[in-house]
Symmetry: C2
Subunit: 256 residues, 2 copies
């Protein structure tokens, strides 16, 4: 998964935002950035004036298999060169600046980038050097700034972490996974009839062993057990296990 | 910002989800995880059976100032011990499993954790060891699994990156930053009157220099310039600059 030959198949590469790393310092961060990009489906990297030159072996070692992104990365001397063929460029900006500029959240930015991409425009996302961030000249070339909503008391964000959040938000703009679902695999969510069948079995045995002998309390106790068993989804397979549990406990009692 | 004495003020620490690192291997990853937690306002770390023992200097060096989280971290021998006082526990699970369990997105999980926390419940988020992830016994102790929607062709996620996404989503559950706004600082968005005032100045000078001399084309040309100047918000300060630009260009012409 590492080394200059090979790397993982990172999926189909389409028209996605170009990630522009401006004057990055550490080759390792360029590698971890490539990994984060692959996680979120961003495949185009441009590097402006990397401090230690390019290519650098340490980037490949840190990329955990996202080699294709590093191999296709383009190097430019200036931001102007790197963005010349793009239609929209957004700049990430962790610290407040005293400028007049549209300011977006990560989510807001990702949605706008997706909309522009869907219109066939080429868009870019600029990230500044590790310590200083983008300078005022870089920022003046961007259409808008993106600032992540994060703990204002602790904003220190690693370069790859910053890229990860935008890559994640980019992926989400086309994701439709339901926020919650029950994985059931081979079995299925039990129907009310299947559940009732189990509860009847349970109540029958509880009557038989005397647990429900108090006539006055019986309806309430039965209802409480119903409340418990209807609180979450249960699968048909789990009901079969529960039938077995009841049967076995009863048999053990009878043996004794 | 580093070292065992001090660290940054990371903000007020309330009832937020406990991050449970199960059998983590690299102390450095525990440190970068603390940093990611601080970014998103997660302050409570528990560590189950860390491979190389605890505390470890390398964690502090990697935490970029999130020392308070490391100093308050609690160590446990088993997952059962680490979760005994919690009410809900969610487990992150990158790979599909063959189990019957509710499956949430990162966002869905963060919202449910926030709701439970708001009800006064103590909740936890389990993350597995770097390579293998959580095992089946760990997973059986969780109320639900969380799987991030990310590029299925490249799911390799660093531990701190995985924590970063949940920390970010946790922070977002209480964030109300507008997705787009114009930072204007000392100035303000220009009113239509202020804009009209500038455009009149421009058209007057364009009439004067003959640029709009074609009577038939004049209305269309004026409208096109209006379309351009109304496309985005402009500030009162920028209009003053533009007035100056027009005046100076005119003066230069007159001098020539």
């Amino acid at each position: 998964m590492t080394g200059r030959d090979g790397g993982a198949d990172i999926g189909p590469i389409g028209n996605s935002p170009v990630v522009i790393l401006v004057r990055p310092q550490m080759a390792e961060n360029i590698g971890t950035t490539a990994r984060a990009m692959a996680n979120g489906g961003l495949f185009h990297m441009r590097i402006v004036a990397p401090r230690d030159g390019w290519p650098q072996e340490r980037a490949w070692r840190a990329a955990s298999g996202a080699d294709r992104i590093l191999e296709a990365a383009e190097v430019f001397e200036t931001v102007d060169d790197a963005i010349a063929d793009l239609h929209h460029v957004y700049a990430t900006c962790p610290r407040p600046r005293h400028i007049v500029k549209p300011l977006l959240t990560a989510r807001g930015g990702a949605i706008e980038l997706r909309e522009a991409t869907n219109r066939g425009l080429k868009v870019g996302l600029m990230f500044g050097p590790e310590r200083a961030g983008l300078d005022n000249e870089d920022m003046a070339r961007a259409d808008a700034l993106i600032r992540y909503p994060l703990n204002p008391a602790f904003m220190s964000l690693n370069l790859a972490q910053a890229v990860m959040i935008m890559a994640y938000e980019w992926w989400l703009t086309e994701d439709s996974t339901p926020p919650r679902e029950l994985m059931t695999n081979e079995t299925h969510v039990a129907t009310k009839g299947e559940l009732e069948n189990f509860m009847s079995h349970l109540f029958r045995e509880l009557d038989d062993c005397g647990f429900l002998r108090n006539e006055q309390k019986r309806p309430g106790m039965v209802r409480n057990l119903r409340h418990f068993f209807t609180r979450g989804e249960v699968t048909e397979q789990e009901l079969r296990t529960l039938h077995g549990v009841v049967t076995e406990l009863v048999n053990r009692r009878r043996v004794r």
